[in-house]
Amino acid sequence: MSNVEAKPVRAKDLLGAIVANHYQSAWDAKNAGEKVGWCASNFPQEIFETMDIKVVYPENQAAAIAAKGGGERMCNTAENNGYSNDICAYARISLAYMDVKDAPELNMPQPDFVLCCNNICNCMIKWYENIAKELDIPMILIDVPYNNDYEAEEDRIAYLKGQFDYAIKQLEEITGKKWDEKRFEEVMEISQRTGRAWLEATGMSKYEPSPFNGFDVFNHMAVAVCARGKKESAEAFELLIEEFKQNIAEGKSTFRGEEKFRILFEGIACWPHLRHTFTELKEAGVNVVGTVYADAFGYIYGNTNELMQAYCSTPNAISFERAVDMRLKAIRETNCDGALIHINRSCKQWSGIMYEMEREIREKTGIPTAIFDGDQADPRNFSEAQYDTRVQGLVEVMTANKEAK
């Protein structure tokens, strides 16, 4: 027997394995002749998880392709097929993948149906309609109408429930698999556990210094998107909490260097320029401690009604007032010194309220803000020079504010 101790399992490795396994199990299902779907990131995963139906996530794939340098190639393919370069780059990459069916950065099975939910944007509907039409496959939609009220009231919940019933019927017909109420209860339970662990882990950035590098959230998010209903995900996030607790106890962090400033990063990551956007901040001692993404995938509910409400509460489905409160909460809880706002060329809905949001953040919190132009997946819509200048400007004001204290 060897007396060398086994290397402790790290949350990072578990999370990586969950994503790898997620894609592998979809391939296995496809190869075994099962029907496999393409699914929108905020579609109520409780539905297909309950029915043991395998899906993969085009948004996740597009982010991975973009992060690995394939964004421009895929966008070009879509544009050659007639898609305007104005269209969301995730959609362009996905529509290109549907056509060429190969991307060395990350391959996934072709769909037998699509599961769409527009609680992040209506662009999703157009994108999935096109996939359904081009591949002649069924489309399942859970429509979440944009809500001007603060809470989702009974009318929305009733509408969602009606659509759940309709979607389940469609899926039963497509896959031959059956709905199981008992299994649904179990899935809700596991998803809750994952959601709570995810929120607790990402919420630990409130400690000073934060026990983790904020850009880690962008990476861990893949599991929060793809595998919220899996026990392994809950366990991995719970391990992440333990690691963060240990970091706090030991005064350590995965953010290397001194955490001089703490900021809210508003918007989706610029995947093609992740390294540059991170490095520029890191060198100035800026750590990202606040994101709205953390809350976006932390679905918390105690019963079916609350589950419906939770899916009506994604950042892009809520009113301006509630969206502002979400940012203010993140800024106050994590004690941010500033906010860096990404005007994402790919996301019209998010970008369309962001200038007013910036004014609100400044007025309500007094912290400095900076805006930069970028894109979640098309590398051509980002300028390093502009980003650097804006970050430097933000850092100068944050420095002056600290010195004045």
Binding site: N122, D143, P145, E356
Partner: protein, 373 residues
């Protein structure tokens, strides 16, 4: 009465229409694109006024929207900020595309300061299934309550039914006008066709219906003059730019059918009458609409509908008028193009926006297209 005299009745400046409403003591409710329940506004004794932007510069709206935003949305915001729309007693904004969602929220912020009510019209995209119709009916009841508060008038079912019948009557006349315009492009030029159809969004509907009855009657009587130019079908969100219509005319292009949001998409479907529940009928209407880029349609019927229009009207080709930065239309285009190519139908796409002053690119494309046809 001569055709040109009747046509002139439709050629009214929006400012004059507003003045007339004000003189009549009528409150005006702004209605964003598209498919809003204008019948409820009419039933409240108020004037529904289409809000489709206007041609001009974008200055203050840049404080709300990045440059890559639809110019209709930006121009509406500009008119909200510069006070042009202060004449409104309320504004209804729908949520069918992402840009409209952001527009509504930004208007709500500005109008709060101006004390003008913002009426949020949530619409179910899953509009054909029962839960979707139920949801839309509930939203329309909320809209009705807000309109009653603004107008001070009760909106009875009888009044809604009357409004539905009036609007349906005008829609049937508009459908007939499209057919008559195709027969008489020598007098109903693209510019006149646009003025007649687009002003339905602004004029009092009863008056409009009366004028259109006169116009259609006169056109029915008119002798058909053989058309030597080309015949086209237009599609897109808006095609009412004066410069664009001039280019059509310079190239002897007659519009024999359209599939334009500001035109046919609003009158090709009727609302059910005498149902006993007219609000539900309005909600069901949303589910009856086909082929609109802003309404959920997994079958993508738009291309099939245009192909049908081309065949029936004997058109030589289709002009896809792409409103710059309008992603619902941009998503439809590749599918549309493929379907038309399969049928051997000629297609050209031109991009326009409401800030555009230079139409040279569109002019060249349309000239080449006309020659090709």
């Amino acid at each position: 009465m001569s055709i040109s005299t009747i046509l002139n009745k439709f050629d009214i400046k929006h400012a004059d229409i507003i003045k007339k409403y004000q003189e009549e003591g009528k409150k005006i409710i702004g209605c964003s694109p598209i498919h809003l329940p204008v019948e409820l506004v009419y039933a409240a004794g108020m004037a529904p006024m289409g809000i489709w932007g206007s041609y001009g510069e974008i200055a203050r709206a840049k404080e709300y929207f990045p440059a890559f935003y639809c110019s209709i949305v930006q121009r509406i915001m500009e008119m909200v900020l510069d006070g042009t729309l202060d004449v409104l007693s309320g504004i209804m904004v729908s949520t069918q595309c992402d840009s409209l969602k952001a527009l509504g929220q930004n208007i709500k912020r500005v109008y709060k300061e101006k004390n003008i009510p913002y009426i949020h019209v949530a619409m179910a995209q899953h509009r054909k299934i029962e839960p979707g119709v139920d949801f839309n009916e509930i939203q329309y009841r909320k809209v009705k309550a807000q309109l009653e508060e603004i107008s001070g008038n009760e909106i009875t079912d009888e009044k809604i039914e009357e409004a539905i019948k009036l609007y349906n009557k005008s829609k049937v006349l508009m459908q007939e006008f499209v057919e008559l315009a195709a027969k008489h492009p020598d007098v109903i030029t693209p510019s006149w066709r646009s003025i007649v159809l687009v002003n339905a969004n602004y004029m009092d509907r009863a008056e409009y219906t009366e004028y259109l009855e006169e116009l259609n009657a006169a056109l029915r009587e008119k002798e058909v003059v053989p058309w030597k130019g080309v015949k086209i079908v237009t599609t897109g969100i808006i095609t009412n730019s004066h410069s664009l219509n001039e280019i059509f005319e310079e190239n002897d292009m007659a519009i024999v059918e359209d599939e334009v949001a500001q035109e046919s998409r609003q009158f090709r479907t009727l609302v059910d009458e005498n149902t006993g529940n007219p609000i539900r009928a309005l909600a069901k209407y949303l589910g009856d609409i086909e082929g609109c880029s802003l309404m959920y349609d997994p079958d993508k019927l738009r291309a099939d509908m245009i192909i049908d229009k081309v065949k029936k009207s004997g058109a030589d080709g289709v002009v896809y008028v792409q409103a710059k930065f309008c992603d619902p239309e941009e998503f439809d285009y590749p599918i549309f193009k493929k379907a038309l190519e399969k049928e051997g139908i000629k297609l050209v796409m031109i991009e326009t926006d409401q800030q555009m002053t230079n139409f040279e690119q569109a002019r060249t494309s349309l000239q080449t297209f006309a020659e090709m046809l």
